[in-house]
Subunit: 369 residues, 2 copies
């Protein structure tokens, strides 16, 4: 059966790794996009030692509150309307303010002094060029928000933190530090700072400031290009498995699947696995893509190549590597988990693990381990 297994203990372990990396900082654990596809209800209980969570939409924020999360919730794109700003106040959500309309809503509608919405994440565009004020705008906005009684966290987002040596990192760090220092001198020494996502937390330990904002690292993928999950001691929080439902031996020169994309070089034993892109396995994968077949009788694991085009409901794998006396029919097949790690599958699919995680569909059953 198609199965997504979520391991809350792995998430807690990974959170502890973040805390070791950034022991002086508070942690805003990113749970946007249904906790990177893991399911926010499954993930929140594993994050009780985080100081807050980050979400992308107001609906996500409300869901977390309804699930009982009573610490900080940071809405990382902020309110989309004046009405959402009012709702943020009602539900004690802390918002990013990244442009003038949001600033206006905040100045026109000031939350009670004890409200978490009094804490504002003021976004400075240091080089990502998506959201945020420029240096001049952020200084002016900070002054007005401070005078209105808001507590400020200056925040920005790295564009290339996964690649430690990218020249933009130093520039973004410099810009951020300069403005943070200027704000603390000219407005208030109490202004906080938050610069690092997962990759920044790993790569820029001198610049963790008051809050780090880990995302992918919590789910057990490497956020940086030059360190593996082993080096970072991370545990994958999701495994994805399915089942062999048929066996075939194809003859040399027979083609398999749509587009007759894969042609047997010799007579080849194949197995049909009941999983496909309709479950969230990527449709286009390179010839390096593989799965692990587990012989249920002895728990032995075999590496088997994915052959032919991934279809909506099925993939075909080459089981030539499996001894002929192994038990195959009904056996479990690991698409990602310990091996292959999802970071490998992402390389085979020309993307990153984040996308694979988010785009798993609701068809596989979901269990926790």
């Amino acid at each position: 059966m198609r199965t997504i297994t979520i391991k809350p203990k792995a998430i807690t372990h990974n959170l502890n790794q973040v805390k070791k990396l950034a022991p002086q900082s508070k942690v805003l654990a990113m749970v946007k996009s249904n906790a990177y596809g893991h399911g926010v209800a499954a993930v929140l209980p594993a994050l009780t030692q985080a100081d807050g969570i980050g979400v992308a939409t107001f609906t996500e924020a409300l869901e977390a509150r309804q699930l009982g999360w009573n610490k900080t919730i940071g809405l990382v794109e902020g309110a989309f309307t004046a009405d959402e700003w009012q709702q943020a106040i009602e539900h004690d959500i802390s918002c990013v303010i990244h442009h003038v309309p949001q600033l206006t809503w905040a100045l026109d509608n000031i939350p009670p002094v004890e409200s978490a919405t009094r804490v504002v994440w003021l976004k400075y565009n240091t080089g990502m060029n998506r959201l945020g004020f420029n240096a001049e705008g952020v200084m002016a906005a900070a002054k007005r928000l401070h005078e209105a009684g808001y507590q400020l966290i200056l925040t920005t987002h790295f564009a290339n933190a996964d690649n430690r040596d990218h020249p933009l990192n130093a520039l973004q760090i410099q810009r951020f530090t300069d403005v943070l220092n200027a704000l603390r001198e000219s407005i208030s020494a109490d202004i906080k700072g938050s610069l690092c996502n997962s990759a920044g937390t790993v790569n820029f330990s001198e610049h963790h400031h008051d809050w780090v904002r880990p995302g992918i690292i919590l789910y057990g993928s490497s956020p940086v290009i030059d360190k593996s999950v082993q080096e970072l001691d991370l545990q994958p929080a999701m495994s994805f498995s399915a089942q062999i439902i048929a066996l075939q031996t194809v003859n040399a020169n027979d083609a398999i699947g749509y587009g007759s994309r894969w042609v047997a070089q010799q007579d080849t034993r194949t197995a049909l696995v009941s999983v496909g892109y309709g479950d969230g396995y990527p449709r286009v994968v390179s010839d390096d893509a593989y799965v692990s077949v587990i012989d249920s009788t002895n728990n032995q694991s075999y590496r088997c190549a994915v052959i032919g085009r991934v279809a909506m409901d099925m993939i075909v794998i080459d089981v030539s590597t499996v001894p002929e006396d192994a038990h195959l029919l009904d056996s479990q097949v690991l698409l990602w988990g310990d091996a292959p790690h999802i970071d490998e599958v992402a390389v085979h699919a020309d993307t990153i693990s984040y996308e694979l995680l988010c785009r798993v569909t609701m068809r596989p059953r979901r269990i926790q381990a």
Copy 2:
């Protein structure tokens, strides 16, 4: 707000197009993988004129029964276990039989004469090389099933029906026709045939046999490489939209987004749209990818390129093409629907519309139009 709009009337229209293409055949409408991501509950009421529906898993079959579908349900990979075979009998599901274990379950546990499970879709592997018996095996299985009282539909699946001229098509058609004729001569003239998926229904009108099994065509994408949806008079059944939440003007030489992948050639007006791969828009798209921005004040539509890397929660678009006095903030952005059609987006993402449809996540709200 991120919104998936489903148009049941489009599905009914597309079903009627199938019926015009194959007026002599019954229609098994494919609703596997949550009706290609459209939501089976939204789609079933639009398919009342179909003769049956096709699903990939037993869970999907049960869901359709629970939603009140009381006509044929075909389980296209068949039962996975003897227990599922028994459950199929209990819920009147018609199963594919593609290998010996399923044949054994059917012969060991014969449903009542009035049960829909007495109808068996016997799978012949004519060249797809995924599921099915070879010619000899299918003849032997048919004989035994017929003798046990089953009604038979011989079925197979095209590997290259989208490409009318692919040489495997003629071979698959020949093999199928030969075995179907042999079965009718040697066993029973009542044995039915089902050969064509969407593409086969369009491309091989001489070979529709008793049942066609349309899938993607029902949802308004072209199933063939040489005919557009306009030529086939199909209507897209899903549109995907989101909202502009911020505007920026970036300077010449500024980079946007992760990896600083896109660099402005001149000062450029950009807009931030609150949608990303966390919603199901593909992360990797070519530089040809575009969206339609709709000025809500006058319903004027503008074609805007997607620039920079698609992120989990955001994309950036180039709004240089939009007049400076147009209303942009809060405006709706069409990711796919009438224009761009999802078939175009699929080309930009190096995949097919089927995958995009299935892998839309549960984050966007869902409405019907």
